[in-house]
């Protein structure tokens, strides 16, 4: 295992410490319990947004703390959801008196730990609503699974709900917006290589030189199926088609197209995927009116990408365009 780390157990603390120093104008960092919140503290009267989950997906979530997006982010150990005693203080730090929206990716661990934290927060009279993000269409039959996973679509939920909170919407309204984004965003990913969790020291799975995993999540786990390596155009079609079908996209609709890198894939390849995904959408008569391309929800150094499509309406578009000032997303 080759990594620019010191002690594998110290990776998360050292990362958020460095992150806090580098972005002191945007965030403030708490160590023990570990969480990241806005530099200025909670905004009075504004709904607070909190997300969190295992580390290893950087810039998610800490990179999205700041004006127009999250109020606090709670990093767990690598690929392990944070504990209630980290999450509850983050709720408190984010609460400006108008309640808190917790944005939780749909994994058993995240859901259970956030659930407990919500109980703790409510005991302290902080109102917390929860939106579970489950945009991954790779998980087809949610009857026989823990339900669809939350993957790259999480960024879109955080950005747009963040803008909703920033313009003064109340907790119910922000929650409804977040839910609307989640309902209208679908994703599917591919891995070309595995990743190596620092404490494990070994690749998360073995993948021969000529095979790839389709339908992966974001935790270095194998995907739904293994197929021979194919061209970027063909792979992109395998990702885009189930996403577009699941959304039942119709000609004439506007969408946001988000090509997300898993961490180890060069930007050039993401643009090649974007190019083909866009062509395929246009062939369906769908108009790409907003775009995002880059490493936003990663799996450490994994090579691969995911394609997310969000169906836009004029309100979601305006909220997407609203100013945002975080370490990883800014305009």
């Amino acid at each position: 295992m080759k990594k620019l780390i010191n002690d594998p157990q110290a990776v998360v603390k050292e990362t958020i410490e460095g992150f806090g120093w580098a972005h002191a104008d945007i965030v403030s960092v708490s160590i023990d319990p570990d969480f990241v919140s806005r530099a200025g503290g909670a905004v009075a009267g504004k709904v607070g947004l909190v997300s969190g989950g295992g580390s290893g997906h950087e810039p998610l979530h800490a990179g999205f703390v700041g004006v127009g997006m999250l109020d606090a982010a709670v990093p767990g150990a690598v690929f392990t959801s944070p504990t209630p005693d980290q999450i509850a203080p983050a709720f408190a730090a984010a609460n400006g008196g108008a309640g808190v929206l917790a944005i939780v990716k749909n994994y058993t661990g995240d859901v259970l730990n956030f659930e407990t934290a919500v109980e703790l927060a409510e005991a302290d009279d902080i109102e917390v609503a929860t939106v579970i993000v489950n945009d991954d269409v790779a998980v087809e039959d949610s009857l026989y699974t823990a339900g669809r996973r939350g993957v790259a679509g999480t960024v879109l939920v955080e950005k747009i709900a963040g803008a909703s909170a920033e313009r003064g919407d109340d907790l119910a309204a922000v929650t409804a917006i977040a839910q609307r984004v989640n309902t209208n965003a679908k994703s599917m990913g591919v891995a070309l290589t595995a990743c190596i969790v620092p404490h494990a020291g070994e690749p998360s799975f073995d993948l021969p030189e000529d095979e790839i995993e389709i339908g992966i999540g974001i935790h270095g786990e194998p995907g739904r199926r293994r197929i021979p390596l194919a061209s970027a155009d063909d792979i992109t079609e395998m990702l885009l088609t189930p996403v577009a079908d699941d959304l039942a996209l119709a000609a004439g609709e506007d969408v946001l197209l988000f090509v997300n890198g898993m961490g180890g894939t060069p930007a050039s390849e993401l643009y090649i995927v974007y190019r083909q995904a866009r062509k395929l959408l246009e062939a369906r008569g769908v108009k790409v009116t907003r775009s995002l391309v880059g490493n936003y929800v990663t799996s450490l150094e994994m090579q691969g990408a995911s394609v997310t499509v969000l169906r836009l309406d004029s309100e979601l578009t305006a909220l997407w365009d609203a100013p945002v000032h975080t370490a990883a997303l800014r305009w």
Partner: protein, 218 residues
């Protein structure tokens, strides 16, 4: 015969030693059908448990006090699915073990409470390839042993043996709960890490009871 607070402490320390020793094995199982952190999670949690045990100024009065310490520590240090699941199991078990000693019926009640906690939180039933597949047969075997008049040490041994059989039985299963369920059919053929750690926990309980019995006889 009963098990006592010394047993509970011995059980806890043995569990910690064993999950730490088998950390890599548990990570490896979790890497195959999950995200490779189950051993890491439990090792981190039980390391913290032992540190808190060591820091206690006086011996806990009741077995439930030990179990509650474990519960809160796991909840605040483990994270993942295992943190809340084990945390709730120990918390529920603590609620029914507020005495200094437990007889066989009380041991069964403790195990039942643990299982109920896991099911309450995780909503899994047997056959879903989770820790329930070790806990449920363990509880059943404990009941049967108690009904047959076994002492606590034998009850725990029966539970551990049944849990171990349950672990083996998870191999062919297709997971429908937890992270492994995302693999669909591909989850079959692998042993569930959470069931495996459950068997470790229960075997530690049985062995600690033997140790205590051996010591009290010596």
């Amino acid at each position: 015969m009963t098990v006592d607070v010394a047993w509970a402490i011995g059980w806890t320390r043995a569990t910690a030693e064993r999950v730490i020793a088998r950390r890599a094995e548990l990570n490896g199982l979790d890497r195959q059908i999950g995200d490779g952190d189950h051993g890491e999670n439990l090792a981190r949690g039980f390391t913290a448990v032992v540190a808190r045990l060591d820091a206690l100024e006086e011996e806990p009065a009741a077995i439930g006090d030990v179990l509650k310490l474990i519960a809160t520590t796991l909840m605040s240090t483990v994270g993942g699915a295992a943190g809340p699941l084990y945390g709730t199991a120990y918390l529920r078990a603590a609620k029914v073990t507020g005495s200094p000693t437990l007889d066989s019926r009380a041991v069964v009640a403790m195990l039942e409470a643990g299982l109920e906690g896991i099911v309450a939180r995780g909503k899994a039933t047997t056959g879903e390839k989770t820790m329930v597949d070790a806990w449920a047969p363990a509880v059943e075997a404990a009941v049967a042993a108690t009904d047959a008049g076994a002492e606590p040490a034998a009850v725990l041994a029966a539970a551990a043996t049944a849990a171990e059989a349950g672990v083996a039985a998870t191999i062919p299963l297709v997971a429908t709960k937890g992270r492994a369920s995302y693999l669909g059919e591909r989850s079959a053929g692998h042993q569930d890490p959470g069931a495996t750690s459950t068997a470790i926990v229960l075997r530690a309980a049985a062995d600690a009871a033997v140790d205590v019995v051996t010591q009290s006889r010596a």
